[in-house]
Amino acid sequence: MKFGVFFEISVPRPWGPETEYTVYQNCLEQARLADELGFDQAWAVEHHFLEEYSHCSAPEIFLTAIAMQTKQIRVGHGIVTCVPELNNPIRSAERAAVLDLVSGGRLEFGTGRSATWTELGGFGANPDETKKTWDEYVRVIPKMWTQERFSWQGRAFSMPERSILPKPYQKPHPPMWVAVTSVGTEIDAAARGLGSLGLSFGGVGEQAQKIAGYRKRIQSCDPVGEFVNEQVNTVSFLYCHEDDEKGITTGQRMAGTFNYLSEQTLATRQAYPTPSYLSPGLLYQLRQESTSGPEGRVPEGLTIGDPHRVAQAVARWEEAGVDRINFLLNVHEMVPQEDVLASMRLFAKEVMPQFQRDETPEPAGATAAGGA
């Protein structure tokens, strides 16, 4: 089991001149500490226009800052939005390659398509098309990274032959992932040989079923990249405290606030009737699972409470077949920074060692020592 940190970068109102600066600096400090403590990855979302919920619109810059301030931790796009109105695929490949180079081969490349009208509508994107454009992006980007010269005639974009430069440091290319929130996306990931980047909070039982389907389907995949990245990542909230009750209370407040903020955005399906987006109920239902356990108990798999309780939750994820857990460390700055850092230290001291066994040092299929 590997552990990572996951940044949404939520910024509470009122927005003073220092507010966003402070939140970003806090996140960078958390990333530095994560690196020192032995966390394996730092992921950052790409979101646009999501007031208070996420101000992380330029993750490639934020991740570059993390890479420059750390030594070991891998940096993950969670995710690059594969929609032409938001990201040109050539620029996505170029930016990712540069990040991989400057980080010394530490990039994880997550892909997805956005779930909100807030974002898609803001860029004038057609929700009917996003699944198709995502599919095209994940097939062409590894070719852009590995072929000396590349040309393409497609649906999302076309280009004459050019050398797309630079090439990533990892050879043949960085591990690729898909954000999995909608039903069936884990199968889309498996069919293409991509890692499953679970972005639904909580819901161990639901995800265990998805993981089983993913593991089965990937055995007969047709990989879009140069190698199969069979790995399952999930996300949970982390608040670890010696006092179990305080850990639970604070963690549940974090989860509840996260859900409340996320629900203020306009889900695509609420605005634009389309079969391309399944009912928003699933995502929201899974998020709800992170806050409402049976009979008032802490929901299964929610990593909050004292170290013993947190370790039990991690073990449950491990049983479900998850390879990595990424932790959301704070929401809306509701937890003071020193308490966030203390929670990370306690987790690293008491919980992390229980799961550090039989680790493989390199990500599947890619080598960071390849060089150009």
Binding site: R13, E51, E52, G121, Y260, E263, L266, Q270, P273, P275
Partner: protein, 253 residues
């Protein structure tokens, strides 16, 4: 805490219906045709909502026109314009004024569900190429719009927001409240198209300054629609986290 509204709804509550009972039985409207024109809202997003509601991100304007061909009070056509928002974390549409072309249906909607509706000429005219709608009040067109370029979709693709209707409720004294009306829908047919709002008199809908600033989508459905028992009220001036009141429900036999 996300932004909240600033509007004092009591200042426009005089013309809202007065509910003397919150007990009502469901009303099924079979084979209704329902047009929705969905826009991003232009105007001050906080000034149109009360403190109990959050503007959604982005806030929206929902034009809904329902033609019920057969009901216990005969055929009628109802038009509403709502502001898409959030009651806590729930998507809702705030309704402060609507119009209906039937006096008897207007009475039912006002008295049983607190819909702040008044009489006007309301039309919904679907055809294969488009569906047009208009509302005329005292000879003036206060709303005109259409769905163009209809494409078939399934009813499962359509999601409607529940309504919060501005009403006065007589309990221990008279209160200005929002009545949640969350109909059940069984879809027969559904089409999606492009919305076009060609006339909209915001004042006539009690939404000063509002406009349809950016088109999102339009849908036309044929549905069996059931207006439900009342289950929730929202106190418009309260904190969003304390604004919802759950009404007692009959125990299952």
């Amino acid at each position: 805490m996300p932004l909240t509204g600033t509007r004092d709804l009591s200042t426009i509550a005089d013309s809202a219906p007065l509910l003397t009972s919150l007990e009502t039985e469901p009303w099924e409207l079979k084979g209704a045709q329902h047009l929705q024109l969905h826009y991003e809202l232009g105007g001050d997003r906080q000034a149109l909502l009360p403190p109990a509601l959050h503007p959604s991100i982005p806030p929206t304007l929902l034009v809904n026109v329902t033609h019920a061909p057969d009901s216990e009070v005969g055929a009628f056509t109802l038009a509403t314009v709502r502001v898409g928002c959030r009651a806590g974390a729930r998507p809702r549409g705030l309704l402060v004024r609507g119009y209906c072309d039937s006096a008897s249906a207007t009475s039912v909607l006002r008295e049983r569900w607190g819909f702040p509706v008044d009489l006007a000429d309301v039309h919904l005219d679907p055809s294969y190429a488009r569906a047009t709608t208009s509302v005329t009040l005292d000879g003036a067109t206060i709303l005109a719009g259409e769905l163009v370029d209809p494409q078939p979709i399934t009813g499962a693709d359509v999601q409607y927001m529940a309504t919060l209707a501005l009403a006065r409720v007589a309990r221990d004294g008279e209160e200005t409240l929002l009545i949640q009306v969350d109909p059940d829908y069984t879809f027969d047919r559904a089409q999606r198209g492009v919305p076009r709002l060609t006339a909209f008199d915001a004042e006539a809908w009690n939404l000063p300054g509002a406009s349809g600033a950016h088109p999102i989508s339009a849908s036309l459905t044929t549905v069996d629609m059931t207006l439900p028992r009342l289950r929730y009220l929202v106190h418009p001036d309260r904190d969003p986290l304390k604004a919802v009141e759950r009404l007692p429900q009959p125990q299952p036999a």
